[in-house]
Amino acid sequence: MQTVQRRTLPLRLPRVRPGGLLPILAILAVLVVLVGIRQPDFLSPPSLMSFLGRSAPIILLAAGQYFVIVSGEFDLSVGSLVTAQVVVAARLIDGDPARTWPVVLLLLAFGAFVGLVNGLITTRLRVPSFITTLGMFLILVGAVYLWSDGAPKGGLSEEFRRFGRRAFEDVPLLGRVPYALLVLLALAVVAVLLMRSDFGRTLVAVGDNPRTAELSGVRVWRTRTIAFILSGLAAAFAAILLGGYSGVSFQAGAGLEFGAITAVVLGGVALGGGRGSVVGAMLGALTLELLFALMNFYGVSGALRSTVQGAIILLAVAVSATRSSSR
């Protein structure tokens, strides 16, 4: 009964636009205040910088996931893709600095390729993306273990790790600026510009009403496939930063897909497509990371963390779902 009521409403009144940034900014502000009360040092530029730097990979993943979700699909394979990328990078570089750049390029190509396969299976074979990417998740994890006999081999070069680990030191005002943060900012600008471009607007249209888009000359399958490729590329960037930050391990990407999807939803993006902004998605990821840091500062027991996380997600999404006018 409520649905009909909502659907036919001739809404003209100014109100919080569904998918707007206000709710996520409010949550973020509350968390910043809570952190500030408990740990004022955290808000000093150097530590804030390093926090932003270390959060860069998950923010990038959220942006990548956003492209896929706003086009009406899912990408559950990003976590395993990150793991695969890190393990592949370690084995190929094997500590040799000279191989850094070729491997970086290879990783980007690999990410794009996995996205392409996800996209083509989803759009051309009409397999729901939940299933496609779930299958891809199993395939990637299995393949990378198989390829490396169950234990990561080789090692990352310092040159490779620099992106995720090092920073410009002694920057006035800010102290140190991690490379990862710069990479994040650059890619965030690209993402925002992309969403304002013709492609971005078309992507949202495809997520909202693929039939209309198709009949307006949009190649829906192509647009969605590109979204998957963007997600794969984002995963590649995230893998480069994450591998740099923490080194090689099979745990590198574990669970990141759910983290990214949660972040995107927290940022006001509707599952099912057609609503929300990429900035919201990235802020959602930042909020989630800040939440984890907050729990560290408040000494919330490690085991209870997922409870707090689950409660906050449910609360945020339930509140926005009951407030928003469309479903």
Partner: protein, 324 residues
């Protein structure tokens, strides 16, 4: 897999059974050439045990997916249920029935929470059940650092290890639950309404179906199925295990079994018989690969490919049906 598409597009025999028969036939042959025996007693028993655990969860999952929803919290419900059951029993047969009742009640309560979040608060099922799963994870991680409680010996002997010929009692339980679910779907108003809600919620609502109530019921039943799987696992393991659900990847595997069984992820089409076929297919692949001592990681690759391929075949058929 290609043989699937040759099947006439009739509803009663889901294509998954063709795939299952082929898999078993080919598997039997390959194992035989390898010098083994696929259908000996112990392998069959093991296969059916694996199928029973996953099957109970997947049948419940079928209900929510048919209704257009999804449950990602089942893995945690299973773990919780093993603990509730084993701790209540505490090794004595006297507490058997209360323990089973309590485990099911707790599961039903979680299903109710899932259902209310999805219907009343209109939270997307993916997020709602993921969130509830996280709540439970926290509770389990915080409260338990390992197996706890002891399952009643009677339950271990009966549900856990008793079998009739090569068929374990637990598999018979799965058969019974599947039959009940099939019966509910085709013979009760709840079943008809559930499929309608999954097919088109607006149509169902305007036809006087109480969508929310139906979907909440489906979620409760799904969680109870997961709870039942938990009780079975407790009987198998002899105690409650806080991580048995997540270790077994029951959340994603059950969804995979459902879609391999021909139920549409969007809801409104499919059924539990196909799901059991999907479960048996996954369990057979497990058994065959076990016999051949194929690397577990390779098996995972194959699994991923099969899930995608199966759904692609269904999608092709649906496309052809729409075109015809």
């Amino acid at each position: 897999m290609s043989a699937l598409s040759l099947l006439p597009a009739r509803r009663p025999v889901p294509g998954v059974f063709v795939a299952l028969t082929l898999t078993l036939a080919i598997g039997w042959l390959v194992v035989l050439l390898d010098g083994g025996q696929l259908f000996n007693q112990s392998t069959t028993v093991s296969l059916l045990h694996v199928a029973a655990g996953l099957g109970l969860v997947a049948v419940g999952q079928t209900l929510v997916i048919l209704g257009g929803s999804l449950d990602l919290s089942v893995a945690y419900v299973i773990s919780l249920s093993t603990l509730v059951a084993a701790e209540t029993m505490n090794g004595s047969d006297g507490a058997l029935l209360p323990a089973v009742g309590l485990a099911l009640a707790v599961s039903a309560g979680i299903g109710l929470l899932n259902g209310l979040l999805v219907t009343k608060l209109r939270v997307n099922a993916f997020i709602a059940t993921l969130g509830v799963g996280l709540l439970l994870k926290g509770y389990l991680d915080n409260g338990y650092d390992g197996p706890a409680g002891t399952t009643s010996p009677t339950l271990v002997q009966s549900l856990g290890y008793q079998r009739i010929g090569p068929v374990p009692v637990s598999f018979l339980l799965l058969v019974a639950v599947t039959a009940a679910a099939w019966f509910a779907l085709s013979k009760t108003r709840f079943g008809h309404h559930l499929v309608a809600v999954g097919g088109d919620p607006e149509v169902a609502r305007l036809s006087g179906v109480r969508n929310d109530r139906i979907l909440v019921t489906a979620h409760v039943l799904c969680s109870m199925c997961a709870g039942l799987a938990g009780i079975y696992l407790a009987s198998r393991l002899g105690s409650g295990a806080p991580r048995v659900g997540t270790e077994g990847l029951y959340d994603l595997e059950s969804i995979a079994a459902v879609v391999i069984g021909g139920t549409a992820l969007a809801g409104g089409r499919g059924g539990v018989i196909g799901t059991v076929g999907g479960v048996l297919l996954l369990a057979s692949i497990d058994a065959i690969f076990n016999q051949l001592e194929v690397d577990a990681f390779f098996k995972q690759v194959i699994r991923g490919a099969i899930i995608i391929a199966a759904v692609a075949v269904y999608a092709r058929r649906a496309m052809r049906k729409a075109a015809a």
